[in-house]
């Protein structure tokens, strides 16, 4: 037997392969394990680690479920935080070893899971054992996993679960109920692990696998309906399993949608170059944020050879689609990414280049095929034996290169010892989100807040209060804290007259009180209380978490039952929807006020949608195309126009017809004919697109700027352009403005206001 066949035989055996993968994962993650007690100071790492740590502390220190996180942003719904990853089996590592050491072990475990999953997926896709094993690191140690420990994006290790979900789905199509349940479990795990990108991207791969199966079995009677039934079962079970995470998440994003603008993209050449360029760190940051998708040159070369194999051809559409999606708007407004962005959920995904993670998975499988091609040819051709040896060696070297890159980037992290825990009553601090993880150990919450979505926060939160619970009318009585934990606050309140109790945390409709009425006091948690002595018990019990937990528990039982039954039957298919029905019943049965979506506001706080232009606005009455009107303009008071100081203009728009999606608002300040400030933007008040705006309403577009140093008076020029082409939207009525080409010159109306002193 040839050495290659002997190694292939070993690779096929789990008793050899899994220890080999474990050893490799140990070597890869060694710098992370060796510094497991330290804290990563990178800004994202601070926040994402704090989410996991706060959840673990909720359990370990307070004996409560991680529902409410009071330690960040003035309090937020922990289950509804998109990037938290604690609804996952790996949370046990955080509980057992502490969140910092648990995070390092999570990375180690997820590497093993990813290596084995990639092997199995490659095998199920027809690659040989040898190629599948040697190519597994092409995905499982690819760039995103190299960069994630540096950035603190541990939740991105959820992508390591994707190949498992796909392998099990492919078995589920054949009627294996255990695999269907397994696929649903992995999909739910991806959601629970903070899979903001992993979950929606995996959905595409699942759809592709289903479509490919249906096409390949189109002549086999009964197989298509069985596969469709399995897909419905997996979808229902995955939704039921992840309901405890998904329901709070959707609830949060409904109230605080992530608004994204810009037209990100990169050329095909750049995308290919990042697939072979190592992840690199300089001055405490990645040298280029898009350079984090490396698969290695040998991995890429073997995968290109692998696509020559007929059994790999079915992967070509998915790799081409994912690659094109990764190019983003570089392919124009009709690009896959631009089209995907029109879908709910996908509209909130900012970075197209992350589709290269899917490309890496497909390339790993194709690289396995590349080696298999040489294996098959080596039976008859001598040169192919040499090529097989070289290919296998190249993949080993490629794995070594990825290992080295992972270690180098991990060593480049800026670390600090974890802060000591100070036992004292909890209070909010002004805080600092760049060092957010330092506050909870001090018994403090950081009001300074960042996340990728606008966390609902009260402007009344304070970081200098002596008492965190107080009365709106201080003379009405007294408040004393009896007990405090993240989800439960017990207070002794004595009131001479009815009064409002304020808690220095954000309001959420899931808060309940045994006395009085929970209220939203400008975003602050408040309770309206009658006069008299009260033992107030505030509890955070959101119905989305309760109903989600019921659904997830039932779905887990159903998954276990499906795994035990193994084969399909009608009973299984019928029961798949039970957890979701239970969710609906419990959700409807628990009374909770429906949270009102807060009005859209400009960053400066002004509401974006209004009944009419504000006082002081100067009428314009111009229209662009058939759909957009510029009703009025408001300029800052002349006295406030100090060169170098911040100022703001306001343009009052109105949608009068079907507005195109990709419109750019072109605003410039000119002096003496020269442009002195470009204020172009896509979103009205950085919050709203024309296409999403209610027709007829006044849309207040607050345009901040720094007053330029100009020799003479400033002219204000306004126009609209079609963002993809850059061409102007024609002016169809100029109203009271002057016109030059397809721009409006508004200075005649504003000359007294806009002229610099």
């Amino acid at each position: 037997m040839s050495p290659a066949r002997r190694v292939a035989g070993l690779a096929a055996r789990g008793s050899f392969r899994i220890p080999a993968f474990t050893l490799f994962a140990l070597a890869v993650s060694w710098p992370v394990l060796a510094t497991a007690g330290m804290m990563n100071l990178f800004r994202d790492a601070q926040v994402l680690f704090a989410y996991e740590r706060d959840a673990a502390w909720s359990v370990l220190r307070f004996g409560s479920l991680p529902l409410w996180d009071p330690f960040y942003c003035g309090g937020l719904y922990a289950l509804g935080t998109p990037q938290s990853r604690f609804v996952s089996p790996t949370f046990l590592l955080s509980l057992l070893f502490g969140p910092a050491r648990g995070e390092a072990l999570t990375i180690f475990v997820m590497l093993i899971v990813g290596l084995e999953g990639t092997f199995r997926y490659a095998r199920s896709r027809g690659a040989g054992s040898l190629g599948a094993m040697l190519a597994a690191p092409v995905f499982a140690v690819s760039g995103v996993f190299i960069a994630s420990p540096f950035l603190g994006w541990t939740n991105f290790f959820g992508f390591q679960l994707v190949p498992w979900a796909l392998v099990l789905l492919r078995r589920a199509w054949r009627g294996d109920a255990a695999s269907a349940a397994g696929a649903a479990l992995f999909l739910a795990w991806i959601v629970g692990f903070g899979g903001t990108y992993a979950a929606p991207m995996t959905a595409w791969l699942c759809l592709y696998e289903l479509g490919a199966w249906l096409v390949s079995r189109r002549r086999v009677v009964g197989e298509r309906s069985r596969a469709l039934g399995a897909a419905a079962f997996v979808a229902a079970l995955a939704l039921g399993l992840s309901a405890v995470r998904l329901a709070p998440l959707l609830e949060t994003l409904r109230l605080a949608p992530r608004v994204i603008a810009g037209r990100p993209g990169m050329s095909a050449g750049e995308a290919l170059s990042v697939l072979v360029s190592p992840v690199a760190v300089k001055n405490g940051n990645l040298v280029w944020s898009k350079q984090m998708y490396v698969v290695g040159a040998a991995g890429l070369a073997l995968s290109l050879i692998g696509f020559a194999r007929r059994r790999a051809w079915s992967l070509i559409p998915v790799v081409v689609a994912a690659f094109c999606a990764a190019l983003g708007y570089a392919l124009g407004s009709g690009s896959p990414f631009a089209l995907i962005k029109r879908l709910p959920v996908y509209e909130a995904l900012r970075y197209p280049e992350r589709y290269l993670i899917l490309v890496a998975l497909v390339l790993a499988v194709a690289a396995g095929h590349g080696l298999r091609l040489f294996e098959v040819m080596a039976r008859r051709r001598r040169w192919a034996r040499v090529a097989l040896g070289l290919g296998a060696g190249a993949l080993v070297v490629n794995a070594g290169f990825l290992l080295h890159d992972f270690q180098a980037v991990a060593v480049g992290r800026v670390l600090a010892p974890a802060p000591r825990v100070v036992a004292r009553p909890f209070q909010q601090a002004r805080g600092n989100r760049w060092l957010a993880a330092f506050y909870a150990p001090m018994g403090r919450g950081s009001l300074s807040c960042w996340d990728a979505y606008p966390v609902p926060m009260s402007p009344l939160l304070r970081g200098d209060l002596v008492q965190e619970e107080y009365l709106l009318d201080p003379g009405a009585g007294t408040v004393g804290r009896r007990a405090w934990s993240p989800n439960a606050i017990d207070l002794d309140v004595t009131l001479a007259r009815p009064a409002t109790l304020l808690v220095n945390q954000n309001h959420h409709t899931g808060w309940r009180s045994n006395v009085g009425q929970v209220e939203d006091h400008d975003g602050l948690l408040a309770v309206a209380l009658p006069a008299g002595p009260h033992q107030v018990q505030l509890r955070f019990r959101p119905r989305s978490a309760i109903a989600g937990a019921v659904s997830s528990a039932l779905a887990l039982l159903l998954a276990v039952w499906s795994i035990r039954r193994r084969r399909w039957d009608r009973l299984l298919a019928i029961t798949a929807g039970v957890p979701l029905v239970a969710f609906a019943i419990v959700y409807a049965a628990i009374p909770e006020p429906r949270a009102a979506r807060p009005p859209l506001r400009a960053p400066s706080g002004e509401p974006v949608i209004a009944a009419g232009p504000p006082a002081g606005a100067i009428p314009v009455g111009a229209t662009f195309g058939e759909s957009i009107a510029l009703d009025a303009v408001r300029a800052p008071a002349p006295a406030s126009l100090v060169p170098g100081a911040p100022g703001a203009l306001e343009l009052d728009w109105r949608v009068i017809g079907p507005a195109p999606r990709d419109v750019q608002i072109v605003v410039s300040l000119r002096s003496g004919g020269a442009v002195v400030a470009e204020l172009n933007h896509e979103l009205l008040s950085a919050a709203l697109r024309f296409s999403d705006a209610p027709p007829g309403a006044t849309l207040r577009d607050v345009v901040p700027f720094v007053v330029p140093r100009a020799a003479g008076p400033l002219d204000l020029w306004v126009g609209l352009s079609d963002a993809p082409s850059g061409g102007p939207v024609p002016i169809t009525a100029t109203g009271q403005a002057a016109r030059a080409g397809e721009m409006l010159r508004l200075s005649p109306q504003l000359s007294s206001a806009i002229e610099t002193p």
Partner: protein, 124 residues
């Protein structure tokens, strides 16, 4: 247990042992109120000027300006911690204690104890 399982278990144990024994928590520091007061003064000395710079960098965007200010603060906190051989937590704790207890500071205006609500920019 088959040999492969034993090897895997041994490797996992090595990983767990390495993670569990890795150095971690910052050493205890003696409480030095004078040092903490000095840290507070240094951290807050030019808060108004820093906030004005941040407001110019992000006109009309209070959250971004506040975030930019906090970026300056975290850099300064890390630099002070390194220079005085104290933990970053000690520096941040001094700022919190000083704000809460109204310690004397050199900033020409009262210090800000509030933050604008989180409003991430639509484009980075």
């Amino acid at each position: 247990m088959p040999r492969g399982g034993l090897v895997t278990a041994a490797l996992v144990l090595i990983a767990v042992a390495r993670a569990a024994t890795a150095p971690g928590v910052a050493p205890a520091e003696p409480d030095d109120p004078a040092k903490r007061a000095a840290i507070f003064r240094e951290m807050t000395a030019d808060e108004s000027a820093l906030r004005q710079d941040a407001a110019r960098a992000f006109p009309g965007d209070p959250w971004s300006a506040d975030d930019d200010f906090h970026n300056h603060q975290q850099r300064r906190a890390r630099a002070i911690a390194a220079r005085l051989h104290v933990s970053i937590g000690t520096v941040l704790g001094a700022v919190d204690d000083g704000l809460r207890a109204h310690w004397p500071h050199a900033n020409p205006a009262p210090l800000t104890a509030t933050v604008p609500p989180c409003h991430p920019r639509p484009v980075y």
